[in-house]
Assembly symmetry: C2
């Protein structure tokens, strides 16, 4: 079988390799969803994905890379879902951004263990994971600037520098809030309220 590998960058490799990669990420997801960060043990992931420990490390050089990659996959899926949704409800930029953030946050809070695992990994990542982190960051920024302009006349214009700055600040607040929630230092309600306040301060049109 001589596949010609006419695939996107992320999907290089043979079918068997893509399959292994998927099995590994699926196992990671399942374990994280069940028991959080601590339950994602490399031996357990390898077992459940039916690969050897060495193979797991060949695909993902560390537990952090593994979890951040799983997070990136989730964000991709979420982004696709939002694109399918069509125009985002809300009359003002603030309302639309809050809508998107709450929607995403609710999705995450619906699977607390998984969120804990992914957020922890994200926060613990060092420069060797910069590429994956950047993917996630861009995805979030894009989502937010898109929400600001959705359904507006300027929808297809490039976001301004200020838009991007605001999106980044909101992303920062969101990460901090998520961190506080994940580590049990604030409730889901407080997290939502804090986010809403921050968006209100940043987007007062």
């Amino acid at each position: 079988m001589s596949t010609t590998n006419s695939l996107t960058v992320e999907e290089l490799g043979s079918a068997a390799q893509r399959d292994r990669r998927k099995r590994i990420l699926d196992a990671t997801y399942a374990l994280a969803s069940d028991g959080g960060f601590d339950a994602v043990q490399m031996r357990a992931v390898a077992d459940q994905a039916e690969v050897a420990l060495g193979t797991l490390y060949r695909y993902f050089p560390s537990k952090i890379h593994l979890l951040v990659s799983a997070l990136a996959r989730e964000f991709d899926r979420n982004e696709a879902l939002i694109k399918e949704m069509g125009p985002i409800p809300g009359d003002t930029a603030a309302a639309r951004v809050i809508y998107i953030m709450k929607r995403t946050t609710r999705g995450l809070q619906g699977d607390p263990k998984l969120t804990e695992a992914l957020t922890r990994a994200f926060m613990f990542a060092d420069s060797s994971v910069a590429a994956e982190i950047h993917t996630v960051g861009m995805s979030l920024t894009t989502m937010l600037t898109h929400a600001m302009h959705s359904g507006q006349p300027t929808e297809h214009a490039e976001p301004t520098a200020e838009d991007i700055a605001i999106a980044r600040v909101i992303g920062d607040v969101w990460l901090s809030a998520l961190m506080a929630w994940v580590t049990g230092r604030s409730s889901a309600a407080e997290t939502g309220a804090h986010l809403e306040t921050a968006v209100g301060l940043l987007l007062r049109d």
Copy 2:
């Protein structure tokens, strides 16, 4: 020697115990400053503080508690320093806040390994460290609201709810920026610029 323990809450215990606690935090600080998070190895801390490993764990139940406690001590010292400084330079709230943030950030960036260790610990902390984290968070918020009003007529009034909300958002941005810097995902200059942008967006008087 029957000391009557007329001490503040944090300093309960005999003189020998307070001394051990100090030796442990000093050793933590020295190791962190030298080699960062990874260099703060519990056996090394115990050796350098001249206590047994079990004793170290009796005083601080985990490496994270240890490092967050060291961070809290640093923040206390920093707060005292700023109080000694008198009025904060700057004509607008934004300018004063930026002054304080840059000053603090510069202090941290002057000891990158230490900052890396303390920030990592802060981000990895779970609810069992909530008390220590809360101390640090309050310290930061106080510092920021103080900067907003320093030298103003309203200096001694209580900060408004909006002030506190703004301070918290700035704190979030600061933590995210610090995280990106610590993990080698952004430079010191980018960190400063991002902070400045955020403060500009939040405090446009």
